[in-house]
Subunit: 221 residues, 2 copies
Amino acid sequence: MSKGDNVVVLDFWASPFCARVKIALEEKGVPHVDNEEDLFGKKSELLLKSNPIHQKVPVFLHNDKPVLESGIIVSYIDQVWSSNPLLPADAYDLAQARFLADFIDKKVFDTGRSIWASNGEEREVGTRDFIEVLKHLEEALGEKDYFGGDVFGYVDIIAIPHSAWFLAYEKLGNFKVEDHSPKISAWIKRSLQRESVKKVLPDPEKVYQFVLHFRKISGLE
Amino acid sequence: MSKGDNVVVLDFWASPFCARVKIALEEKGVPHVDNEEDLFGKKSELLLKSNPIHQKVPVFLHNDKPVLESGIIVSYIDQVWSSNPLLPADAYDLAQARFLADFIDKKVFDTGRSIWASNGEEREVGTRDFIEVLKHLEEALGEKDYFGGDVFGYVDIIAIPHSAWFLAYEKLGNFKVEDHSPKISAWIKRSLQRESVKKVLPDPEKVYQFVLHFRKISGLE
């Protein structure tokens, strides 16, 4: 990389997937321009051109070349701006980090969604499923400060943005994350003290209001 | 790694995900023991202990330490047995390979399943969706011999095992892969000439019979 690098994130403020990319860039000290997309209106030409298959944010543009999928983008950033590595160097540690990131990708947002984008029994099932996911994460974290061990690393970056949605899940699912996963709660508080996380994550109350708005326009309220 | 390496794959003969791991091991010349799991009967204690969350094959055991998820396993194998690299070294090429592997993971087996595990309109939709996926892959392959370019690499290993199921998709979906994606057809023939692929992939006719058996016991026929 050089000083002339042009780094752009096609972004949506509430997206935990976009937040991963922005936190990784903050951790690496890479200046970037975040272009907010209007996901409920017309998507930008640049988004459609850069991600024709999924048409989703985040898109990461490095000197105009697109990199897609948040976990892949964070890995790319870690390889290109290689000081303060986020991914473990050891093959086995790396495979374990990737497995946990994959578990988070498959489970956290979707079980969360089944709480906030539903009602009645479906929401009850969603809440139970989400609490199960929390328990797996609690076990994976164990007694460590971070998923990366002593240092905030790849899995932490993958996981922490979801926490901005937890208030919405708690209010709509009528439970407390802390009651089911006290270590995860402590890890969230610890991570929120980091400059990168503090700077990037949206206010959970604002996310909750966004979810309520979404429920209203979707006919769920 | 050392000569004393103990390499075990918890396997299922028809699984394209297990085949990825076995092809990677063949490409690297790593001796391995494949333990066939009875997925319709009782899963082994070793499987349940090694993959408590998903309880799925493949599980890769390297000196008794489990590595999970086929794409992660292939990356692990490539890092540990590092001669003849499968993954691109360049960050941008790597991100593109990972994106395509992710697309294949999300789309190929599931759209295929919506052909063979359905009937009527659902199957018609599944067939159309699968042909769309083929067209994306045809475009991604372009004029190259392999997804990896001149050499058979990571994306080829991720993709080729699915081809053993294509006969079943064709017969049940009433279409020909070749009619929609001639370059993919040629790539399959080319890849099947490789020793690793030839040795690992099951006979498509046997997979088709397996699918028919599955349809019968599931009440679909």
